[in-house]
Amino acid sequence: MEQYSINLECFQGPMELLMHLIDKNKIDIYDIPIASLTEQYIEYLDRYRSFNIEITSEFIIMAATLVQIKSRMLLPRPPKSQEDEEEADPRQELIERILEYKRFKEVSNVMEEMQQVQGRCLTREPMDIPVRHLAPRQLSLHELVEAFANVIAVRQELKLPPVLVSHEEYTIEEKMEELISRLHQQGGKMNFFAVFSGHSRSELIATFLAVLELIKLKTISVYQQNQYGEIEIAVHVEDKASAHGEAEPEEVMKREVQHG
């Protein structure tokens, strides 16, 4: 009786128990005596039960599968016809599953050995090497100049007395339309700073309020991928779809232009 309990605990699942029974009885996998296999399988489950070992649902499902195959085998077969060829042996799926499981069981033994061999070669923990950022390989001179122009423009806006700035009126609605149309021209996305290309304070303020308004209306969103990263403005996809149907960005753009 003790022998059983030892055996029972070895099986990790119904596939393994099946393989054990097939090996033990030297069963030809291509011609499984399904009735006796089912009988032996269920016998094992009974022993599990008598030792109060929990039988997981997987074992029960396999038992049911075996019983089902057994009953299908007992059904009278229709006379041989062409259609008959297509009707698989009721055991076919089970055979395939056992063979497939066998492949991985075998290869997992090889893998185990490989891991043991590699386990004999010890490696070291990486040394603590400080991360050092390198400059990008290529930078655009144009962007450098533009960045400087931008600095000066903002600087001038912030510092110059208002009298030196020409009076121009900008409305938030105007800026909202302009921003949406520019976004569509650029494929729905643009750099946050690129939005503020205006030179006068009132224009910058109008643009900024337009951005806030569009965010509130959930027409656009503003996001930053990481700290110190680029800030981007993007049109909400849903919004684009609902407002313009399935239209391609180009078509949307054309329509916008016509409206404007």
């Binding site: 990790q12 699942g13 119904p14 596939m15 393994e16 996998i29 291509y30 011609d31 997981t56 997987e58 396999m62 085998m73 077969r77 060829e85 698989a88 042996d89 009721p90 055991r91 076919q92 055979i95 395939e96 599953r97 063979l99 497939e100 499981y101 066998k102 492949r103 991985f104 069981k105 075998e106 290869v107 997992s108 090889v110 893998m111 185990e112 490989m114 891991q115 061999v117 590699q118 386990g119 004999r120 070669c121 010890l122 490696t123 070291r124 923990e125 990486p126 040394m127 090497i129």
Partner: protein
């Protein structure tokens, strides 16, 4: 010794982990053929003096590890982390390795058991990872192996996996099928 062999040795030692071919080219500032030559020389040198170290090509890069011949000594350090996998975990991992990308359900079908816990253990050990989602109902997660997996098994890349035993089912010919249909009658 070639000064660059020393540099190579220092870099591999410091890294601990496999260093890619590309990274070595950049760090040593040499071209491909020269690197091949250095790696060859270094490996040769380690062998000749029966060094405690060996050069391994693993997980798409090069790394230093202890020479297996000295395992008895190294073992006494007691530094080994327990990397032992249960039989169930090894089977599951094998299925992921050979069948990736694969879903949990597909693995469960092969093994005939639920693998919830084993999968989370393998994920925790960083031997497997999520690759994406399958385009079927429920969009189940697809799993694959990691670089850590390659390192644990001493594999250069996935092409380095052992041969999977042939699927015998393919050898079931039409005749065999008919034969066992007859037998079951």
């Amino acid at each position: 010794m070639d000064r660059l062999v020393g540099a190579l040795e220092a870099v591999l030692f410091a890294s601990g982990e496999p260093v890619s071919h590309g990274a070595l080219l950049e760090i040593l500032q040499i071209d491909g053929p020269r690197l091949e030559q250095l790696l060859d020389n270094y490996r040769q040198e380690l062998l000749e003096r029966h060094s405690g170290l060996q050069l391994q090509q693993i997980a798409g890069g090069w790394q230093l590890a202890t020479n297996m011949d000295y395992y008895d000594y190294v073992q006494r350090l007691g530094e080994e982390r327990d990397k032992h996998l249960s039989q169930a975990a090894m089977e599951t991992l094998s299925i992921v390795a050979f069948k990736q990308p694969i879903t949990k359900q597909e693995i469960e079908h092969i093994r005939g058991v639920r693998i919830e816990k084993i999968m989370s253990r393998l994920l925790e050990m960083e031997l497997i990872r999520e690759l994406g989602r399958k385009d079927t109902i429920g969009r189940p997660i697809l799993y694959g192996t990691t670089d850590t997996f390659l390192q644990c098994f001493g594999l250069k890349d996935l092409g380095d996996l052992p041969e999977l035993p042939a699927p015998d089912t393919n050898s079931l010919t039409q005749e065999q099928m008919i034969l066992f249909q007859e037998q079951s009658e």
